[in-house]
């Protein structure tokens, strides 16, 4: 299947290894990955910070770049949730009927990576091997936005050699929230504290999630406290070959 990759601006810039792993997983499963080069950002940063004119420009750009694609896959639940939940809102606010139609047609074809693998392709075993103790943080947008449930877990459970350990208080937010982490840095840090305690308590060597953004928050906290726990996007675990 031809799969258009929406890498997201954050992965593109800060975490290329997440994008590379995503390509490797999809290609290993026999898909033809294309990367439309005109893509930049879904607009989530501007949307959630209140700059809705810029967000709308970026939404229009996203739609223009991907409108012809049959399936668009992104290794980020929060970007996909932004597209699915808020593009209709932006089109409505702009009173842009043409955009609303395009959005309605395109959004069902935009999927988060694990959602695509499990719900669209019906695959849970992607043939990876990863022999470490791993815990999993279900990010808010994957859980309450995209309603992924245990879709990512079903992939992790099928990884050869992986020892899975449950994260206490897993469904609680990590406190990231985009610019919230900066504008309300102290509150964000207080929320993060609980998440860090819970991650460390698992004794896991690796913390994984479907969003690099939340992992930047938790990983940033782990790094600051001198913890040895590493953060990996789930694609990087799924890409690990035997």
């Amino acid at each position: 299947m031809r799969v258009a990759l929406f890498i997201t601006c954050m992965n593109d810039t800060l975490f290329p290894e997440t994008g590379i792993a995503t390509v490797q997983v999809l290609e290993r499963l026999g898909h033809d990955v294309v990367f439309p080069k005109a893509q930049t950002c879904c607009g989530q940063l501007h949307l959630n910070t209140g700059y809705h004119d810029s967000a709308a420009d970026l939404a229009r750009r996203f739609v223009r770049v991907f409108v012809e694609e049959e399936i668009v896959v992104a290794p980020s639940a929060s970007c996909v949730a932004t597209i699915r939940e808020f593009y209709p809102y932006l089109a409505e606010q702009l009173d842009d009927g043409a955009l609303a139609e395009e959005v309605e047609a395109l959004t069902p074809r935009v999927m988060e990576l694990t959602e695509f693998l499990v719900r669209r392709l019906g695959v849970t075993d992607v043939g990876s091997r990863f022999s470490e103790r791993v815990t999993y943080h279900p990010t808010c947008h994957s859980l309450r936005g995209l309603q992924l449930g245990d879709v990512p877990l079903s992939l992790l459970r099928a990884v050869d050699g992986l020892e899975f350990v449950e994260l206490p208080g897993a469904t609680e937010c990590c406190g990231f929230g985009g610019t919230f982490a900066i504008k309300n840095a102290e509150t964000s840090s207080a929320i993060l504290e609980s998440k860090l305690e819970n991650v460390v308590a698992t004794g896991a060597a690796v913390l994984t999630a479907v969003d690099r953004s939340c992992l930047t928050q938790i990983g940033g906290g782990l790094s600051r406290m001198g913890s040895q726990v590493r953060t990996l996007h789930i694609a990087e675990i799924l890409a690990a070959a035997p």
């Binding site: 890498i7 994008g19 209140g50 810029s54 970026l58 808020f86 930047t216």
Partner: protein, 462 residues
């Protein structure tokens, strides 16, 4: 610049006693709510029904209000319309003055807090006495309630014991809950028997019958609505439900969502005046105070469906850490973050819509399915548009980011600039200290440095 949420949270977050009180209390209520909503196979249907009834009321609010007015009058009550807080307070003060009373007993009511009724009464020489135990605690301590349902959630037993010792002149009082409740009871019973006027809010107002419904846990509210000669009820115009039958839905949704009980201990329903039984004079004050402005906004209007259960507060990671006072508003937590800016404007409360990580836990538990994250984002847009939030630095950075993301070549160029600019800050592939507006991040978190090669460059090189 006026103090906003971050400044008030800064103070609250340092109060470790408050943080422990809050974590314990919210975790307990959260667990109870989850248990009693989980046991209902039709919980989701109840939510859908509650949401639908409330939205119907909002669509036809004018009709229901007029119907309610004539129902109350038919039942022997009087109806007064108040455009804003000042009008409502003037009406209440005049009604109390007419009775000659110098004290009023009060049923716990957020709406009267919203309009600052206690201050208005006090200024008019009338002493308001809160009768809900936790409201009484806040009143005696001269503090604002910090939770919709558990106003004194920020205080523990020992703090309350010290307060009661001082205020009631009981130096030997212990912190045993039964003793604390006993002290308050002795004080309040005397007030119930001697006070001629009561003021209440309303959980629901029924259009077809003119009935008012108040739900509570202690029974003190019922003393207020039955013993005094005169009862004045202040009702936000969004509190209407069409028929008594609709209460079937809400009297299931509300206690399970709020206190985590299957049923609250006291549900009082009264309709107008019954000769020889209960208050012989009954007044309803219908309050707008910004609500019609909320109604005018297609996205924001769902906020008016709120039944003040406070489930959103109890699951909110922000509220759990900062408590209610950080919101600087009568309505704290997620619902306060969307209701207050709409009632008072973003110039007053522009920081509130940003006081959320948009985790969505609130929307998941809301019994009337208010999409709180959507309204938060909507109001952030309004605050930025109205220039009541964000400084020049942020605006410049967001403009720059918008420019850089508007084209592939600009994006590539911006990354090259970023790699140069980050250089002085990078140590061992990470950034431990950022300047200016970004310093909030590195206060507690490291940031990975931008790698030499972006994904795009890797892709182009394959």
């Amino acid at each position: 610049m006026k103090s906003g949420f971050p400044e008030r949270a800064h103070v609250a977050l340092r109060d470790m006693q408050l943080r422990r009180n809050l974590a314990l209390a919210t975790t307990t209520i959260r667990g109870k709510r989850a248990a009693v909503t989980g046991e209902r196979g039709d919980w989701e249907e109840l939510r859908v029904a509650g949401a639908a009834i409330k939205r119907r009321v909002l669509r036809h609010l004018e009709d229901y209000l007029l119907q309610f007015e004539s129902s109350v009058q038919r039942a022997g009550g009087s109806v007064h319309w108040a455009r804003d807080a000042q009008e409502a307070n003037e009406i209440v003060v005049q009604l109390v003055r007419r009775t000659g009373a110098s004290e009023v007993v009060k049923v716990k009511s957020l709406t009267t807090d919203e309009i600052g009724l206690n201050d208005a009464l006090t200024a008019a020489g009338i002493r308001p006495i809160e009768t809900d135990l936790a409201e009484l605690i806040c009143q005696l301590a001269d503090e604002r309630p910090s939770h919709i349902l558990v106003p004194a959630i920020h205080k523990n037993r020992v703090e309350i014991r010290d307060l009661f010792r001082r205020e009631f002149g009981l130096p030997d009082l212990t912190e045993e809950p039964t003793e604390l409740a006993g002290a308050a009871r002795a004080y309040l019973r005397e007030k119930f028997l001697s006070t001629a006027v009561a003021v209440s809010g309303a959980n629901f107002a029924v259009a077809e019958s003119g009935s008012i419904c108040v739900v509570e846990s202690e029974g003190n509210g019922r003393f207020c609505t039955t013993l005094p000669e005169t009862l004045i009820t202040i009702v936000g115009i969004e509190k209407l439900v069409p028929t008594l039958n609709d209460l079937e839905v809400f009297l299931q949704l509300l206690p399970r969502s709020s206190t985590g009980e299957r049923m609250n201990p006291y549900t009082s329903l009264w309709t107008g005046v019954a000769p020889g039984d209960g208050p012989q004079e009954f007044h309803v004050v219908l309050l707008d105070n910004g609500r019609t402005n909320v109604l005018a906004d297609e996205v924001g209007r769902q906020t008016l469906a709120c039944i003040r259960c406070s489930a959103c507060l109890n699951v909110c990671p922000v509220y759990e850490r900062t408590g209610g006072h950080a919101y600087g508003s009568v309505y704290p937590g997620p619902i306060g973050a969307i209701l207050t800016p709409q009632l008072v404007g973003t110039a007053e409360a522009g920081s509130l819509p940003f006081a959320s990580s948009l985790c969505g836990a609130c929307a998941e538990v809301c019994p009337v399915k208010i999409d709180i994250p959507q309204v938060l984002v909507h109001l952030r847009g309004r605050a930025i548009r109205e220039r009541t939030a964000a400084g020049a630095g942020e605006r410049m950075m967001m403009s720059a980011a918008g420019w850089a993301l508007a084209g592939e070549r600009r994006f590539r160029w911006a990354r090259r600039v970023g790699r140069l600019v980050q250089r002085p800050f990078v140590r061992e592939n990470k950034i431990e200290r950022l300047p200016g507006g970004l310093s909030g991040w590195t206060m507690t978190r490291d940031l990975p440095a931008m790698p030499r090669r972006s994904f795009r460059e890797w892709w182009n090189g394959r």
